[in-house]
């Protein structure tokens, strides 16, 4: 939406780079805090910040559909449930710190292996920077969403359907694992509750109206208006 044509080419790029580095710095910082902060609730909140800033970086890539979906799904739903669980747990901070020195070598080793792997991967021929020319700028009315939909439902339909089936199986499995018939639990059946007649519940008894013996007789002076 910025008036791109009025910027000099060099200045526009440099502004984008500034924005990118600001967001990237926030992402790295908050991702680091996720694993260093003591309180799990703060850790979850830092993870939320990481996701949100990642979405901002995706916006810079002009992938607005994915960016907004990241916020909608991960920030709006997944992390809420995550936070929900983390808050319910009674996490004691002190025992969590205990094994730090003991596990440090293992952690460093795993970290080093991952770093070496990533360096190998990125310096490979196929993943080097030169192999990926920057994508061409698209017009402001280009719909990222529509382009994604067209590709998903034509070229990659088969893969898309497979992913859908896997997710469906996962849902069914999760429900099947958590569903336990417990006979002692009391259920309400709303269909049954509303499927009644007046005759089932109410019995109208006609009784002669008379004052109990010994009680003072009330005289109604109001003429029926109370």
């Amino acid at each position: 939406m910025l008036p791109t044509q009025t910027f000099g080419e060099g200045r526009l790029v440099s502004f984008e780079i500034v924005v990118f580095y600001v967001f990237a710095a926030i992402v790295v910082f908050s991702a680091f805090r996720v694993i260093t902060v003591n309180n799990p609730v703060f850790a979850a909140m830092f993870l939320v910040l990481t996701f949100f800033t990642c979405a901002a970086i995706w916006m810079l890539l002009e992938a607005e559909f994915l960016a907004v979906t990241l916020v909608l799904v991960y920030v709006g739903a997944v992390m809420v449930l995550f936070l929900f669980v983390v808050m319910m747990l009674d996490v004691n901070v002190v025992p969590m710190k205990e094994g730090f020195v003991k596990y440090l070598p293992v952690g460093l080793l795993v970290g080093a292996v991952m770093l070496v792997e990533m360096v190998f991967l990125i310096t490979q021929r196929y993943f080097r920077n030169e192999s990926f020319p920057p994508p061409e700028r698209v017009a402001a009315d280009y719909s990222n969403t529509e382009a994604l939909g067209r590709v998903l439902y034509s070229d990659y339909l088969f893969q898309f359907e497979i992913a859908a089936i896997i997710l469906l199986v996962a849902i069914v499995a999760a429900i099947a694992l958590t569903m336990r018939r417990r006979p002692e639990t009391k259920y309400q059946r709303p269909a049954q509750q509303i499927d009644i007649n007046k005759a089932d519940r109410v019995r109208v008894v006609s009784m002669p109206s008379s004052a109990p013996a010994g009680a003072p007789t009330r005289v109604d002076h109001s003429g029926g208006q109370s």
């Binding site: 939406m1 910027f7 200045r11 607005e64 916020v71 909608l72 920030v75």
Partner: protein
């Protein structure tokens, strides 16, 4: 140099637009509180606030000043930083979502392609304010309120999203202005008619999303006193209040845009304009107040049942119906798609 000047002008006009949306919005929040008290008062044959100014018209300002000068108390064992961040987390998304709302033809701050998705994302962030407030207060009432609200908002978000899919199928766009333009041609072309079940589900889910009565178990005055904001006072409380009402107006505005034809007049081409949008929004807001005055609070398990077992199946069935109708090009509504 002209490039720099253009940037300055662009930034200034954008800021001006934001002010033009935010100031009326906050004023409407103020007067919505008054309208709520007066309307519910009438429905319950009471008078409502009528002492401050003519017809009580200055009552909202009296309330605001009272809240402004009250002390913001932070409980001793509260997590201070999160306790004070929570109201901001609640309010900021509620206001940010207004960036893409088209008030009239071409009258949105940012007319983006994925507008509807953006609104959904922003409103879904609002739940953090509630959860964080409940946790940071370090009180069981606040925490219970936060837990209830988190489960409720996540559950109804799904029904809400499904209800919107029908609108997307008919409009063929995520752009809110495009969605309104898709409903041009008078009352009978509004999406309310072909998507009636989805419109009902959307509106009720909206009431649940904003934690309004009869779905206000997160606050549940009679059982958990005020739920997640029980420990808040003064301006911190006022921010939650502002967020709740801004969200309410948001849902009303979205209902007007998605199902009631936005700025379009009910008679084709007669006086389209922002007044129709405002009028429709006001009507939906009146429904909010009407619901609150009419229905008793739902029990928690009934809320969950309604969301998961009633609304989601209804929306799925109706999406299939819409799909078939578009495929076979039935009726006047399903033919316009290219």
């Amino acid at each position: 140099m002209s490039g720099f000047l253009d940037t300055v002008i662009y930034t200034a006009t954008t800021l001006l637009k934001i002010v033009l949306v935010m100031v009326p919005l906050i004023l409407s929040v103020a007067y919505l509180t008054l309208a709520e008290r007066r309307v519910i008062g009438s429905m319950q044959t009471r008078i409502g606030p009528n002492r401050v100014g003519p017809f009580g018209l200055f009552q909202p300002f009296a309330d605001v000043f009272k809240l402004l000068v009250k002390e913001v108390i932070v409980p001793t064992n509260a997590s201070r930083f999160l306790f004070l961040t929570a109201p901001v987390l609640s309010l900021a998304p509620a206001l940010a979502a207004w960036a893409v709302i088209p008030f009239f033809d071409g009258g949105a701050i940012a007319d983006v392609n994925a507008g509807l998705l953006y609104v959904l994302a922003m409103t879904s962030i609002g739940v953090y304010g509630v959860i964080i407030a409940g946790w940071a207060s370090n009180s069981k009432y606040a925490f219970l309120g936060a837990m209830r609200s988190a489960a409720q908002i996540v559950a109804y978000e799904i029904a809400m999203g499904f209800a919107l899919i029908g609108v997307l199928m008919l409009a063929g766009s995520l752009n809110l202005s495009e969605i309104v333009r898709g409903q041009s041609g008078g009352f009978f072309h509004w999406y309310l008619i072909p998507l009636f079940p989805l419109a009902v589900v959307y509106f009720i889910s909206g009431v649940a999303e904003t934690n309004r009565a009869p779905f206000d178990v997160a606050e549940g005055e009679s059982e958990i006193v005020a739920g997640f904001h029980v420990d808040y006072s003064g301006m911190a409380f006022a921010l939650f209040f502002l967020a709740e009402y801004a969200n309410m107006i948001m849902i009303a505005a979205l209902t007007a845009i998605l199902f009631l034809g936005g700025w379009m007049s009910p008679i084709d081409g007669v006086g389209d304009g922002i007044w129709w949008f405002l009028g429709k929004t006001a009507f939906v807001l009146f429904l909010f107040l009407w619901l609150r005055a009419t229905f008793p609070r739902y029990r928690y398990d009934q809320i969950m049942r309604l969301g998961w077992k009633v609304f989601i199946p209804v929306t799925i069935v109706w999406i299939a119906v819409v799909g078939f109708a578009i495929w076979f090009e039935i009726g006047p509504w399903f033919q316009q798609r290219a």
